[in-house]
């Protein structure tokens, strides 16, 4: 749409009615096709469903437990007993990766919802009431932003320990500032609209205005934001477990397996590379699927206004 170079008028629709109809159909098809779900949506979607399936039904596959040591196979590459080989302690890589996926996916889904939920409330209050509420929330957010996210997580893991719940919760806290900012900006935008003034003129309560007039309008950017956050949460959890500060060992997690693999990178690269590949594909898939859904949402929104 913003193409600044196509103005020479070289395009033209053909003269005969048939040609014209064909061109017409082509132009419309092109427009409609723009944000249809294509292969870039479905292939990653299939992968995600596969990973999700494995993680949920992991105990049913008859895999060796993730912390069981097989003395026959230590640091072995893929073989018929251990499909993806074993790590330096002789634990089954496939099992470890699948069980590690449980942690990543749980955190990936839970943290953004926690963060966006809290950010939504703060952002709406700041954007709607302005004044000192806005000022205080603004300072709180700036403070939160001034400490690197990873440092906050490190502090939390030191202070509260590494349960899965704490990891989800403290990671969720990291999403508050951005979620609150997005909500605040959207709320500001809508709170100045005339339909909100009209509701005020009718004597509507603030609660009614926020829930009925503002909220339905700002929920879409936040859903889009959650979609972006899922892969980010997985990546951060990976970083944390890479540093050994996520869920406590011996519970496997992708970052932790990669960290172990790094030690023996030159001799047994498969230990680092398999979880790296799985994690990369999963994060990429979440990104691609999220992007496709966001485009569709944008289309729906454009159509609705």
């Amino acid at each position: 749409m913003a193409d600044i170079s196509q103005e020479s008028g070289t395009k033209s629709y053909a003269a005969t009615p048939d040609d014209k109809a064909a061109k017409h159909a082509e132009a419309i098809a092109h427009f409609k096709k723009r944000n249809k779900f294509g292969l870039y949506f479905w292939i990653p979607m299939v992968w995600l469903l596969f990973v999700l399936f494995c993680a949920v039904f992991a105990p049913l596959f008859g895999l060796p437990p993730a912390d069981e040591i097989d003395w026959m196979y230590i640091k072995e590459g893929p073989n018929e007993v251990h499909w993806l080989g074993t790590d330096s302690l002789g634990r089954d890589m496939l099992s470890r990766i699948i069980y590690g996926g449980r942690v990543s996916l749980t955190v990936g889904f839970a943290a953004p919802f926690i963060g966006v939920g809290l950010g939504l409330i703060l952002g709406m209050i700041a954007g709607y009431y302005r004044g000192w509420a806005d000022e205080i929330i603004g300072i709180a957010i700036d403070t939160w932003l001034a400490i690197p996210g990873l440092v906050i997580l490190l502090l939390f893991s030191v202070v509260f320990g590494g349960s899965l719940f704490m990891v989800c919760f403290s990671l969720g806290l990291l999403f508050i500032p951005t979620a609150a900012r997005i909500t605040r900006a959207a709320t500001l935008n809508y709170a100045g609209r005339e339909f909100v003034l009209a509701a005020k003129a009718l004597g509507a309560s603030d609660f009614r205005i926020l829930t009925k007039e503002v909220f339905p309008n700002i929920i879409w950017p936040l859903i889009a934001f959650i979609l972006i956050d899922i892969p980010i949460a997985i990546v951060i959890e990976g970083s944390l477990s890479f540093l050994g500060l996520s869920v406590k060992a011996p519970t496997p997690s992708w970052g932790g397996i990669i960290a172990e693999g790094r030690e023996v990178l030159s001799t047994s690269p498969h230990i680092a590379m398999y979880p790296t590949l799985v994690m990369f594909l999963t994060v990429l898939s979440f990104n691609l699927v999220g992007d496709a859904i966001r485009r569709r949402l944008a289309d729906v929104r454009e159509g609705a206004i």
Binding site: I4, T143, L154, P231, G238, F242, L243, M273, N287, D291
Partner: protein, 317 residues
């Protein structure tokens, strides 16, 4: 000018809040350093004695006041474990982290700006889709993953660059830069996508502005429209982001310094975390916040320089 003063005020408040929050987290919550120092098999009396020695028995606000007072006089305390001066150990290591961050940011910008302009020039065109795909792959890799892949390929497989290590600048510029390339690249490969996307989105909307239409109507060539008319007004969000990214980069250095064995502040912090050396953690976090706040103040100044509406007090007046 009033705008900058307001920003400065805000940053001071933030700094105060950061130190307080950190202090609270580290000091009020369970996980007492005294136990750590005393060791596993110590008696309750020994722990009490250590508390007494360290002054941990006094009220929290008093200790906070003392500590904050110390920050201004350069007395950031001493490590409970190594007895090193916290301020000195941070300032010794910071130049290394700083070099790493600057290199990473330069690399990220050199990738992001041209890519963002090309993408925004023809959204959904071939260039945009190619860049978008690369960005997707790039953003899907955490920095530790990128680091491992880079080490595997460039250090272990090709043997071009060292896998770990650090050389001070005194051993020569190239000697100093060589081991920094992979770490900086690991950080940049994550950060550039965010910058690129921000620039792209803003530039697409700027290119739809009336003043761009007018520039076209004036017969200006595309390169001039993109670089002279559109780039500056499109870069505001990206500049803001540069400031915010300082926090992410600081976080990133923690992992990257660990992987590449670079003696920076990040490594100091992670070591302190592993050993629960709270006064060092406190110092590092405060220092990070200080760095962040300073960077953002510089961004605010850059903003005023870039946007005449801010400079002349038109928009925010």
């Amino acid at each position: 000018m009033r705008y900058l003063l307001q920003r400065f005020q805000r940053l001071l408040i933030v700094l105060a809040a950061v130190t307080f929050v950190t202090f609270l987290l580290v000091n009020v919550l369970p996980g007492d350093v005294a136990y750590e120092i005393a060791g596993m098999d110590s008696s309750e009396e020994e722990v009490q004695q250590i508390r007494e020695d360290l002054g941990l028995n006094r009220p929290i606000l008093v200790r906070y006041g003392e500590w904050v007072g110390g920050i201004f006089t350069g007395d950031w305390g001493r490590s409970y474990l190594s007895d090193e001066d916290v301020w000195e150990s941070i300032t010794d290591r910071f130049p290394v982290s700083f070099e790493l961050m600057i290199l990473a940011q330069i690399l990220a910008l050199t990738m992001a700006i041209p890519a963002g302009i090309v993408s925004a020039f023809r959204p959904n065109g071939r260039g945009d889709r190619l860049i978008g795909s690369v960005a997707f792959a790039s953003v899907s890799m955490p920095s530790f993953m990128t680091a491992i892949l880079l080490i595997y390929f460039f250090a272990l497989y090709l043997g071009w660059l060292p896998a770990t290590g650090y050389e001070p600048i005194s051993s020569g510029l190239w000697e100093n830069l060589r081991p920094m390339i992979l770490p900086a690249l690991s950080l940049a490969l994550v950060e550039w996508t965010v910058l690129m996307r921000t620039l792209r989105v803003e530039m697409i909307s700027v290119l739809q502005e009336n003043y761009i239409a007018l520039a076209r109507a004036k017969g200006m060539p595309n390169y001039r429209i993109l670089l002279v008319h559109a780039l500056r007004p499109s870069s505001f969000s990206m500049i803001t982001l540069l400031g915010l990214q300082v926090a992410r980069l600081l976080g990133g250095t923690i992992i990257i310094e660990q992987i590449f064995g670079i003696p920076g502040v990040g490594r100091l912090l992670i070591h302190a975390v592993y050993t629960r050396d709270f006064i060092v953690i406190q110092g590092c976090v405060t220092f990070f916040a200080l760095a962040f706040v300073t960077a953002n103040f510089i961004v605010d100044i850059a903003y005023a320089w870039l946007d005449p509406r801010v400079r002349t007090g038109g928009a925010h007046g």
